[in-house]
């Protein structure tokens, strides 16, 4: 363990993060909401803490080991929650308790999009902008951004990158240099965000709303500056733009980059995970539309399709945008949509959930087991795009699911212990651990009314989910700390 080096990087990254307090100041000045003070103060506080951490050890140069990488990522994300909550705490509109401020910040960074604030429409622009911005930073990963911008991280960059990016297979780099890979990913992310903002603008939003919503669309966050969320606009065009870009955000950004570089849309189609993702979304949309029509929830096929596709994509990609909401939909639909979010998008995307590829692998492994019952001595490798997947990765996926469900169960039970009813409890944990946002029961619209202890549990669930269980749980194991 290389604690000095960990401290140095933490300090450096906090310094970098403190700079992100400045754009909201700009927004405050531009819109004259007179609300720049909390951000300026937070900027100074976070920068000072970062400098205090960094300065004493800024000369320490050692290679970052793999395990240091996990430590940096886990500790930094916890710091982010607190540092990111500072302006919300300092602000007088809204007035938030410490618990609520941290919950809101973590919900933003982890791109969950669950909120404890009611009355968003009346808040200062700068605060609203800040909520959207932290989602955007957290989406592709602020650590990946640090890797892209701070070449000092060097080799250590790889271990940081690995600990923050989602997915079971992380050894495939776009370029030999990790810095370059991280830059490309952020580049694609920024380009898609810009495209999305333009789309929203054309669909009729104003500049502020376009950018804000583009931030939370590409990061699959789901915050909106309005209490009514996307429903505020009640526009089919806005819904369409949101659906398309949420869907894109749910695909791997590595894949986006490859397609962009080759100038060949066929690239998407050659990717097994993307195919599975596409079909899954398509089939569920058709099913949900049909059921909604049959139950006469909406009048016409068009409206059914519009609301079905928005909510299905929103839940599958763990964004959590809503127009009408789906909690009151008939039959199995609310539960179905909650289950969709459990799957999530593709590995290497900004979505939460357990990722399509993991399900693909375990399902194929399950089919192989079935075959083996009939042909006990058959050699049946699990294949992906015609290539056998190493057994180690499949075991890793199996281990991931085991941990995922254990953590899920424990957190749900804890929530119920604090007096939350069953449907609210499991849907709250599902929506937090998968970084989605809306739940069922008491947390359908927001998380304001559950007890403080429950909010903390949800906060933990969001962090655990964003770092894909292992990175955080690892710190609790003796193996990690043993020398």
């Amino acid at each position: 363990m290389n604690l000095l080096m960990v401290q140095r990087i933490l300090g450096l990254m906090l310094l970098m993060f403190s700079l992100t307090m400045l754009p909201p100041v700009g927004v405050a000045l531009a819109y004259g909401d007179g609300h720049s003070q909390p951000f300026l103060t937070s900027f100074l506080i976070v920068a000072a803490v970062g400098a205090l951490l960094w300065l004493p050890v800024h000369r320490v140069r050692r290679d970052l080991r793999l395990r240091d990488g996990f430590l940096v990522v886990a500790v930094f994300w916890i710091c982010l929650g607190i540092a990111g909550a500072t302006p919300l705490l300092l602000s007088d509109a809204p007035v938030l308790s410490f618990t609520d401020a941290v919950f809101e910040a973590v919900s933003g960074f982890t791109t969950t999009g669950a909120t404890v604030i009611v009355g968003l429409d009346d808040l200062p622009m700068s605060i609203l902008y800040y909520r959207q911005q932290i989602q955007w930073l957290g989406g592709m990963g602020i650590i990946v951004l640090a890797v892209a911008l701070l070449p000092v991280l060097g080799i250590g960059g790889m271990s940081l990158y690995k600990a923050e990016t989602p997915g079971p297979i992380k050894d495939q780099k776009l370029t030999p240099r990790i810095t370059q890979t991280a830059r490309y990913l952020w580049f694609v992310y920024a380009v898609l965000t810009a495209a999305c903002a333009v789309g929203y603008y054309i669909a009729g939003m104003d500049v502020f709303d376009s950018i804000s919503h583009a931030f939370s669309t590409l990061s699959t966050g789901g915050f909106s500056p309005y209490d009514a969320n996307l429903g505020h606009f009640d526009s089919a065009a806005v819904d369409a733009v949101a659906t398309v870009f949420m869907f894109l955000a749910g695909a791997s950004f590595t894949l986006h980059f490859s397609a962009l570089r080759r100038q060949d849309p066929q690239t998407y189609w050659r990717d097994t995970e993307f195919q599975a993702y596409f079909w899954m979304v398509a089939v569920v949309i058709v099913g949900v539309t049909a059921y909604l029509l049959q139950q006469r929830e909406f009048e016409s096929l068009g409206t059914s399709l519009r609301h079905a596709s928005l909510h299905v994509v929103s839940m599958q990609t763990s964004t959590g945008f809503q127009t009408t909401g789906f909690a009151h939909w008939p039959g199995a639909l609310p539960t179905l949509l909650m289950m969709l979010t459990l799957v999530g998008g593709c590995a290497g995307s900004t979505t939460g959930g357990t990722k399509v590829i993991r399900w693909l692998l375990v399902l194929r492994q399950g089919l192989a087991e079935l075959k083996r019952l009939v042909h006990p001595s058959a050699e049946i490798p699990v294949k992906l795009a015609g290539r056998a997947v190493p057994q180690r990765i499949i075991s890793g996926v199996a281990g991931f699911f085991a941990m995922y469900f254990v953590v899920f169960a424990i957190l749900t039970l804890l929530l119920m212990m604090f007096g939350v009813d069953q449907v609210t409890a499991w849907s709250a944990i599902a929506t937090c651990i998968n970084n989605t946002g809306p739940g069922l029961g008491d947390v359908t619209l927001n998380f304001r009314d559950i007890p403080d202890a429950a909010k903390w549990i949800c906060t933990v669930a969001m962090l655990v989910g964003r770092l894909e269980i292992f990175a955080l749980v690892l710190l609790l194991t003796p193996t990690f700390w043993r020398r």
């Binding site: 793999l66 790889m158 271990s159 050894d171 780099k173 030999p176 240099r177 810095t179 190493p390």
Partner: protein
Amino acid sequence: MKIIILGAGQVGSTAAQQLSREQANDVTVVDTRDEVLRDLQDRLDIRTVSGNAAHPAVLEAAGGGGADMIVALTSSDEVNMIACQIAWTLFRTPTKIARIRSGDYHHRPELFGDAAIPVDLAISPEQLVTDYVERLIRYPGALQVLDFADGRARLVGMRALKGGKLVGHQLRELRTHIPNREVRVAAIYRGGQNVKPEGDTIIAEHDEVFFVAARDDMRAMMKELHTEEAPVRRVVIAGAGNIGFRLARALEDRAQVKLIERNAERARRAAETLRNTLVLVGDAADEELLLEENIDDTDVFVSLTNAEEANILSAMLAKRLGARRVMALINKPSYAELMEGGKIDIAISPQTITIGALLAHVRRGDVVRVHSLRRGAAEAMEAIVHADSRNAPVAGKRIDQIDLPEGTTIGAVVRGEQVIMAHHDTVIEADDHVILFLTDRRHVEDVGRLFQAGTRA
């Protein structure tokens, strides 16, 4: 530069490590073993591709299309050659380097060329090691001999012994001892400590002294550190493999060579080809055999078998039985550092030698080579001064005007055939080969940047 390295063996992974440390290089490593690649990827900032290095699809996945150089270091000569062929045919890769072990290929230089097998440089580790050992044997007392500027200047490491004229004297007296000789002491290693060589430094017995000298001035300086040593007369080589056999053939006309080989069949084949070498069938770690063959009268004992542990043991045994200088072929760098200077005089590391030669060609431009001195005492670098070094103008400057990183000194300048020892007022000219010494390995890159040609950003 975009470099593809094929084969993640010892040489391949060390080359990847050294090259990826320089920011300008993008390194991709190809190998068939997933675990090895995973380990490498965890340690280094490189890309790895798993698959057969000679398959076009694998080369393409490794970025063959845009690569500037391909370095084929797999364990198979044939795979290396085919990989170069494919890279040339499909991607027109400009530089192709391959490790070719088998001497058969090297005997036919016409095989390699754009019209035949497109390998720009065929590296033969066996030949390199043989040359290295032969050079060590030619200079009795030398612990390390490194060539600079194609051999015009050499760096020699040797232990100071009682009877050497400079031993017990200050370094500055060197000028009166051997006037008009171009010699510069680069590093002194005393009892495991690095001593900075200055005018008033006194050379003590058992110091390991590294000096750089023009080729013709080497012997004069060596006499300063040793009593004049008789040239090597009697050599015992253990192991009649590729290296042992070649070494015996290179030495047999100048010295009395005995070659010990355990395998009777191989011994017979060696005996058939060699003319003046006495080939013995037996175990090099057999005390009786060694004594029988007058090991106590042997000038040099070299063990060159495939088993490094056996090499270490037989060399230690030979030393105890009275061989004057013993060398052992040791692959693992950690073993080499452990043994060197203790029970064994010289550890020969094929890896280090191969990598040195390899990197010398990879870094054709500015920094030609970087050698580590024994036990990492210091790094010695050779860099070429370009007239067009726009962003780092070294040419035309006096040495004391050049902003060198801390702990870095310019030792010598090779200008054409002339070797000039550097003084603070020596003016560096374009096309000079500058030899530098660095006490800190981390500055290698900084120095490289100083000499970088202006054409490369």
